[in-house]
Structure formats: C-alpha cells, structure tokens
C-alpha cells in the first residue's frame, strides 16, 4: 500500500513540477512577446542575429538538402517506376520536400546547429554574469538578448527551409533527370501542375515558422534557465536538442493533421 502511495506521490510531484515549468516558460514567452515592440526601434539587433543564426546553419542545411534530394530522387524513381509513373518524380520530390521534409529536417538540423549554439551562448553569458551585469546596467536581458534571437529564429527558419527544399529539388533533379534519364519536361511540368502554392508551399512555410518559434524558444529558455556552471550549460545544451527535436516531431503531426486533413 505504501509503495503505491509513494508512486502516486512521485507521479503527482512529477506532473506538478512539469506543469509549473510549462507555466513558467509560457509566462517568459509572453513577456518576450510583450517586450518585442522595442525591436521595432532597433531592427538591427534582429537582422544581426538573422545573419548570425542563418550563417550557423546554412552550410549544413544546404548540404543535407542536396543529399535528401538525391535519396528522394532514387527512392522515388524505384517506386514510381514499378507503376510506370516515373514522370511524376518531380512532383513527388517537390511535395515531399515542401510539405514535410523541408520544414521538419531543417528544424531538426537547426536545433542541433544553431539551437545548441544559442543555448550555450546564453548559458555562458549567465555563468559569466553578463546577464546580471546587463540587469545592473538597467538593460533587460530578455528584451536586449533573448527577444532578438527569438525573432531571428522565427525569420531564419522559413528561409532555411526554403533553401533546403530548393536545393533538395535540385538534388532530385540531378539524380532523376541527368543520371537516371527521366524526361526533363515531365519532371518540371508535373511539379508545376501538382504543387499548390497556398496549400503546399504556404503550409510548409507556416510549419517552419511554428518550428522556428518552438526550437528557438526552447534553445533560449534552456540557456536562460541553465545552472551557471560548465555542467549546467552542458546539460542545457543536451536538453535543447532532445526537447526541440521531440517538439518538432509532435508539432509536425498536429500541424499536418490540421492542414492536410481535408
């Protein structure tokens, strides 16, 4: 009986702690949003960060996009060829990338590359008392440091996802058309006819913006709340990758269910 009660008590404490954490993070997110108007007066803070986080992730995203495109071209051809529909290869590659792989893989790579950098940067700023120093200089770190990085992530993610998809389509084209010999006209024509700008590309962009909010906020929150020790920052960085990746996959399922259910 006692062990059952202990288990229930532990479960209750676990749930309560997580709810508290969720509430705390939500309040912090809303505070950042409320204070973001300041950035309209100093847009340079955001553009600098867009450049920064974009540069962090550009190479890995472009190279990954190319290889994912290669693989999609090969796999798509093998499958479509069975049904004599290899002309639809361009459509398959484009839809796969714009609807799913572009936003999702970009977000996962962004979490691993820029997200961890953001967590470590903010965590080390905290450990080095830079955030405290800023507070004591009457400068709010949430407004001056966290908000520009969050908006940079929200802006950079769709751009990076678009680059991923574009490079991926080129990869699919290179494998499908020059290498395997799919008709070039059919490859592009099917893609042009089958891809809907609002439904496919638009929803992909919305997805990547949502992922941008989720991944960047998780990275910044973990850095801001990290224990100010080397071990604390290391753990926070690991948590960023784990939580952000799971959040992206879960959000992807929800968004796909809402966007493409009809």
């Amino acid at each position: 009986m006692n062990s059952v009660l202990n288990t229930l008590a532990s479960l209750g404490a676990f749930v309560r702690q997580n709810l508290y954490g969720l509430g705390y993070a939500t309040r912090m997110f809303l505070t950042i949003m409320r204070r973001s108007a300041f950035l309209l007066k100093r847009p340079r803070l955001v553009t600098d960060q867009v450049h920064f986080v974009g540069n962090y992730s550009f190479v890995i995203i472009a190279v990954s996009g190319l290889f994912v495109g290669f693989v999609l071209g090969l796999q798509g051809y093998y499958t479509l060829n069975k049904y004599g529909s290899e002309q639809a290869l361009g459509l398959l590659v484009a839809l796969s990338l714009t609807r799913e792989l572009g936003p999702v893989v970009t977000a996962l790579l962004f979490a691993g590359r820029a997200g961890t950098s953001l967590t470590a940067e903010i965590g080390l700023m905290k450990a080095g008392e830079q955030l405290s120093a800023m507070e004591m200089m009457a400068v709010d770190p949430l407004t001056r440091v966290v908000a520009p990085r969050l908006w940079a992530g929200i802006i950079a993610m769709p751009i990076l996802a678009a680059i991923f998809s574009a490079v991926g389509i080129m990869g699919g084209y290179l494998v499908g058309v020059p290498l395997i010999g799919v008709d070039e006209g059919a490859f592009w024509a099917q893609m042009q006819a089958g891809v809907d700008v609002a439904q496919d590309i638009g929803n992909g962009v919305i997805k990547s913006m949502v992922f941008g909010v989720a991944v960047t906020f998780i990275a910044l929150f973990q850095g801001y709340e990290a224990k100010p020790t080397p071990e604390g920052v290391a753990r926070a960085t690991t948590r960023t990758v784990v939580i952000a990746s799971l959040a992206v996959l879960a959000l992807d399922f929800l968004l796909t269910a809402v966007m493409f259910s009809s």
């Binding site: 830079q130 405290s132 120093a133 507070e135 004591m136 200089m137 009457a138 709010d140």
Partner: protein, 276 residues
C-alpha cells in the same frame, strides 16, 4: 557605536534596516536582522568569509533579489517595493563591477564601455567616442580600445569593467570582489583606481571583499559579516586595534579561532575508532 552617529555627517545613499534574507523558503538564512548605513562620498567595505552573504548585500541593493523582512533603501526609496521600471530607473544611478568583470565577450573593450551609453543616452557617435575614450583613459586602457575581452588579462578586464561601471557617472558604485585573483601590481592599480574614481566622481563606493591590506588602505569604514549578521564594524584603524576574537582572526588571517578550521563533524577519536 550607534547606527546614527557612526558615519559622521553625511546622509546615507543606501540603508539596510533589519534585513532578513534566504534564497528560498526553508533554506539557510543568509542574512538576519542586518542593519547597515552607506553614507555618501565614502568608500565602505563589506568583509567576511566566503559564503557569508557579502555579495547578497549588493544583490539586495541592486534589486536583483528581495529581502523577506526589513527594508533596503536607496536614496530613501524601498528597493524591495519597486516595480520593474522603477528598478531600471534606480539602476541607472548605480554602477557595478562584477567579480571577474562580466565583460560582454562578443564586444571589443570600446564597445563594452560604450554599451550603457548607447542604451541610455542619445549621444552622437562622435560624443560617444570621446566619452568612452575618457573613461578608458581614466583606467589607463585607452590604447586597448580595439582589443577583445579574450585578448586582455584579468586585471585589465577588471579595469575595463570599472570604466563601464562609471560610464554613466553613477552616484553609487558597487564592487564585488574587485581584488580576487589579481597579481600584486594589478591589485594595487585596482585599489588606487577605486579610491581615485570615488573622489573624482564624488560617488559612494561599496566594496565587497576579503582582501585586508588593500581594503584597509582605501576604505573609510568597514563592516564584518559573519553568520548573516554584523560581527564587527568601524574604521580600519578601529578594527586593527580591535580585541574582538573574530576581527583579530580575520585581520591576522589565523586559521583557527571563532571561525573553526575543521568543518563540524565527528570527533577525530570517533572517526579513527579510538573511542567506543
């Protein structure tokens, strides 16, 4: 000595009245019923062993933490009752030098000193340049303006942080362990700069440290904190002449005394099995 008459004629810029503080309910009490006065224009040192709550005093004055009981007054206003914008407003009138400088590692020495000016004043780039170079000149680092924090020594970083702390000419400057880890030359330079800046700006300096010789050289008044309370206080001369066992142990750096050398635990005989 009574609180009212101990600091001579100057009214206090900061007062702590009956302050109790712990970091979380039920946790160890850091400060208990603390009363302190920091008169204008003076250099006041807050001393004590590691973990005695010295830095917490600075965090209370800056409003980074709030007292559970008592009042922390800055220019007569209760810091603990202030909202965020009021806190931001009083912090513009405070400068703080952190233990290891806390320089922004992605900015040059010049940009670090320019940071508070850029954030709070509408000065032109030309005026800003002159102001920053004047502050850097005051700490002897005008020539290091283009270096990054990773390219300068710990002592230099402390001096850059001092230039940044005084960028807005605050009436109150707080120093958290300004001498920690410095070589003798840097230590002497930092101590002289603190005294010089205080006189030049007509400011009040609160010095949290456990470095006796340099502090006694520059401080007008010294508080010793132990177990969250004021263990002793007075001018450096008073404390040098004090017969209080705690002050004597601290000033002479004796390993044993009221602050024991051994962490409390089982007796030696018990641990080695000599007693049953």
């Amino acid at each position: 000595m009574a609180v009212s008459d101990k600091h001579m004629e100057n009214p206090s810029i900061v007062s702590l009245k009956g302050v109790d503080f712990s970091y979380a309910p039920g946790e160890r009490t850091i400060l208990s019923g603390l009363n302190m006065e920091f008169p204008r224009g003076k250099v006041i040192a807050v001393m004590g062993g590691s973990g005695c709550g010295k830095t917490t005093v600075l965090r209370l004055i800056g409003g980074q933490v709030s007292a559970q009981k008592g009042q922390v007054l800055f220019e007569g206003q209760d810091v603990g009752q202030m909202n965020t914008s009021q806190l931001m407003s009083i912090r513009r009138r405070m400068g703080m030098l952190f233990q290891f400088g806390a320089l922004f590692t992605d900015m040059s020495v010049f940009e670090n000193v320019a940071f508070p000016l850029r954030e709070h004043t509408p000065v032109s780039e030309e005026t800003l340049r002159d102001l920053v170079l004047m502050k850097l000149n005051a700490v002897g680092l005008r020539g290091a303006r283009d270096l990054m924090p990773s390219q300068i020594s710990g002592g230099m970083a402390r001096r850059v942080a001092l230039a940044r702390a005084i960028a807005l000419d605050p009436p109150l400057i707080m120093y958290d362990e300004p001498f920690a880890g410095l070589d003798p030359i840097s230590l002497g330079i930092t101590a002289r700069l603190i005294k010089k800046m205080n006189a030049a700006l007509g400011a009040t300096s609160i010095l949290v440290t456990h470095d006796i010789p340099e502090t006694f050289e520059i401080a007008d008044y010294v508080y010793f904190i132990a177990n969250g309370m004021i263990a002793a206080e007075g001018t450096p001369d008073d404390l040098r002449a004090s017969s209080d066992p705690f002050v004597k142990q601290f000033v002479s750096a004796n390993p044993d005394g009221p602050v024991p050398f051994h962490y409390p635990g089982k007796s030696l005989a018990e641990d080695f099995g000599a007693s049953v």
